[in-house]
């Protein structure tokens, strides 16, 4: 092919980052901070802070009480499986399933946000460190492969990331949930405080306020951010910059350096590999608006396109050196899909507390860190789960089935209702080689690119764990004196936790893993993968904080390697 060297130069950068979500934003910021001219490619449209279209609207500004129409559901059937994503106020952040189809051999729930910022706009913001035992677990249990790092390798990066993004939380002194550098914690309400006491006294377990990426105090290093205003409309995007997102935080910082070129509507579909050099030279991009195909080049490439996004690019990058997908000497690419299984727990009614209420809307709940299979506790399954929960007073909807009607009804709804409380578990899914995603060239998406086929399910360990997740919750609520305790355990698809991970795992051995201890592709040292696909096990803690820490650490290493001319 004849190469126009001017065009090539124009398209050449020091670094390329694919994706602008929670990990991509960090890669962009850190590479730019270290002086690299960085091209940041996002497949979706531009979203610039603070332009979030629905963020300041009141309930009456939305048609149909914010409910999805039948037409909405036709376009976003899979995105609707969470039960809360397809609302008039938030549906624009989630993909059109008809334009972005996938195949599920068994039910698979894949929630996507294709725009600058990705799911860092809609994420749940819960931010917990992993503990030493989480990194040791695979080796101890003889499951999957051993992590090539330990907690101590990541601790300084947890420090850096937590302080920078702003995490509100309480120091609890728990070995299974290491403390961090926290902004002031949010408050527990009256019922939650009593539950905390009961859970501690009767079970010796901890219940604490959630650790959440909200600015409960100003962050001077991010002057464009304000503090959380307790509106609890986070999924819409926050014009106050009250919580961490790429849009409110890392991308503005990257932009400020003058080193970032952000190119939205740029779908990366292949890595360009030069076998003679043993390195990737760049990426192939499809412009989503014009349909034009183009190439961009760089010395180092960071894949942060989300777990299945990055894995897709690698599966689709086939060459004589990599006939099974980029860096896939191990045959592990696409395998070991993990997530957190959820939608299981318990709820109860609470008598009393009639003269107690709250003001403001807390975008957070309580957290019960893992206590199962810790210390002397030994269950009929391995690993464990944490709970997220909350208590509140019932509103008008509880009066639909009550007798009052007319003027009486108006008076009755004005009085806050009964207190109720509930908690749902987030359980660790083990890495199973047969839980995998593969490329499907027979079904194409709106851009004409191949799609993905998912074949994954929960297995015995997960189902046994779910019994405890339901029963333990009920037990704790009963012991606190709450009434009408009911458990729930719903049928779900893997992916519903929206913590999908594992399909390009880190490991010590290139024969059984895709990435090394630095998130470098074993077989191609100038490509780094730092989103959820890198994960070797899933633990039960929400993973985004860990993705950000891995990313910051990997960029630091990549740049030092570049400076030493090792890559």
């Amino acid at each position: 092919m004849f190469l126009n060297t001017d065009a090539e130069k124009e398209n050449t950068y020091d670094a390329i980052v694919v994706g602008t979500g929670i990990s991509g934003g960090w890669a962009a910021m850190e590479l730019c901070n270290k002086g690299l001219k960085t091209l940041v490619l996002e497949r979706g449209r531009m979203v610039k802070h603070p332009d979030y279209p629905t963020a300041t609207k009141d309930p009456w500004d939305f048609p149909n009480a914010d409910r999805p129409t039948q037409e909405d559901l036709k376009k976003q059937e899979k995105q609707n499986r969470t039960g809360y994503t397809v609302r008039q106020s938030s549906k624009h952040w989630f993909v059109n399933d008809l334009e972005n189809p996938y195949t599920e051999v068994k039910r698979f729930d894949w929630m996507r946000g294709y725009h600058v910022g990705g799911r860092s706009i809609m994420w749940g913001r819960q931010s917990y460190r992993w503990s030493p035992m989480d990194f040791e677990a695979n080796a101890k249990d003889g499951i999957g492969v051993d992590w090539p790092i330990r907690y101590n390798d990541l601790a300084p990066w947890y420090d850096k990331v937590e302080s920078w993004i702003g995490v509100s939380g309480n120091k609890d002194g728990l070995p299974q949930l290491p403390d961090g550098n926290f902004l002031p914690p949010m408050e527990l309400n009256c019922v939650e405080l009593d539950l905390k006491k009961s859970v501690g006294d009767k079970f010796g377990r901890a219940l604490t306020i959630g650790r959440t990426a909200h600015a409960t105090a100003p962050l001077p290093h991010s002057p464009q951010r304000g503090t959380c205003q307790f509106r609890n409309l986070c999924i819409r995007g926050c014009p106050y910059g009250g919580y961490f997102s790429s849009n409110s935080s890392t991308l503005p910082a990257a932009e400020k350096t003058g080193n970032m070129t952000l190119r939205p509507n740029s779908v990366v579909y292949e890595l360009i590999y030069d076998d003679s050099k043993g390195r990737a030279t760049g990426v192939k991009v499809l412009d989503a608006e014009s349909g034009e195909q183009m190439e961009f080049y760089a010395k180092v490439i960071f894949l942060c396109a989300s777990t299945f996004g990055s894995t897709f690019i690698m599966l689709n990058s086939v060459s004589s050196r990599f006939p099974n997908g980029f860096g896939n000497d191990s045959d592990q690419l696409g395998r070991n899909i993990m997530d957190h299984h959820l939608s299981v727990g318990a709820a109860a009614e609470v008598d009393g507390y009639q003269d107690q209420y709250y003001s403001g809307r807390r975008a957070n709940g309580f957290y019960i860190p893992r206590y199962r299979n810790i210390g002397n506790d030994k269950r009929d399954y391995i690993r464990g789960f944490g709970y997220q929960g909350g208590a509140s007073r019932q509103g008008w909807s509880s009066l639909v089935k009550e007798l009052s009607i007319g003027a009486d009804l108006k008076e009755a709804v004005g009085k806050p209702g009964k207190w109720t409380v509930g908690m749902g578990g987030f359980g660790e899914i083990l890495p199973y080689a047969e839980n995998r995603v593969t490329l499907n060239k027979d079904l194409k998406d709106k851009d004409g690119l191949p799609t993905l086929t998912f074949d994954a399910e929960l297995k015995e360990n997960e189902y046994k764990m779910r019994k405890d997740m339901a029963n333990d919750a009920a037990e704790m609520l009963s012991a606190a004196g709450f009434k009408n305790v009911v458990t729930y355990d719903n049928k779900i698809g893997v992916g519903l936790g929206i913590h999908e991970m594992g399909t390009a795992r880190m490991g010590k051995d290139p024969k059984t893993s895709v990435l090394n201890k630095w998130n470098q592709v074993h077989a191609c040292k100038n490509v780094f993968v730092t989103d959820g696909s890198a994960m070797t096990s899933a633990a039960c803690q929400n993973p985004s904080l860990t993705y950000m820490a891995l990313t910051a650490r990997a960029v630091d290493y990549a740049v030092s390697e570049l400076n030493k001319r090792n890559i």
Partner: protein, 194 residues
């Protein structure tokens, strides 16, 4: 006071004379079409008039606005049209038809032709019966028409500006979260709208 006398007195107050045919028309039940001040997109005009009255009985204007003031009837019409599945639309319309037939059986006239007291009494009776069944072991899988109406009315009303800000309390930008405070210190002590 019976209807004949009420009309006569009203005409006297208004300084006019009510013509005999007009009185006869009203008293014999060959009513003019009920007047709606909004145009339904899914329901017929008669159906829209019925649900308007039911909604206003469920949440009437008192010292605060009621369902009609808050645009709830129009909200219900669009919910049925755009949000409800075909199955639920059919269930609602069939329930509305049965509701009207029941009114006819009980009072000798379709619902739209009853007087206000009769309408209110009828709705309250059906509502009470439905609540009793809802709370019993025979609770049906799908809610009966009257409770579908109640649910829709309440949903529309309490997400409306009038409902959320006057009957409940609403704070667009709270600024802070106070977790455990006396009810008397939580705004004006009413239920939070969101």
């Amino acid at each position: 006071m019976d209807r004949r006398e009420a009309i006569r007195r009203t005409a006297w107050l208004m300084g006019g004379v009510v013509s005999a045919p007009a009185i006869m028309g009203v008293l014999n039940g060959c009513t003019a079409k009920p007047t709606l001040d909004w145009k339904p997109e899914f329901l017929s005009e008669d159906q829209a008039a019925t649900i308007t009255d039911i909604a206003e009985i469920i949440i009437p204007k008192t010292d605060t606005p009621g369902a009609k003031d808050a645009g709830v009837p129009g909200f219900i019409d669009i919910m049925l049209k755009d949000v409800y599945s075909k199955e639920d639309q059919d269930r609602f319309i069939n329930g509305l038809k049965a509701f009207d037939e029941e009114a006819d059986k009980s009072y000798g006239d379709p619902f739209n032709e009853l007087d206000e007291d009769q309408k209110t009494a009828f709705v309250k009776k059906l509502h009470e019966e439905a609540i009793a069944i809802e709370k019993s072991e025979n609770k049906p899988e799908k809610r009966p028409f009257i409770l579908m109406m109640k649910e829709l009315t309440m949903l529309g009303f309490f997400t409306s500006e009038a409902g959320a800000t006057q009957v409940l309390q609403y704070d667009a930008v709270p600024g802070a979260y106070k977790g455990c405070i006396p009810l008397s210190e939580a705004g004006n002590g009413k239920t939070w709208a969101t």
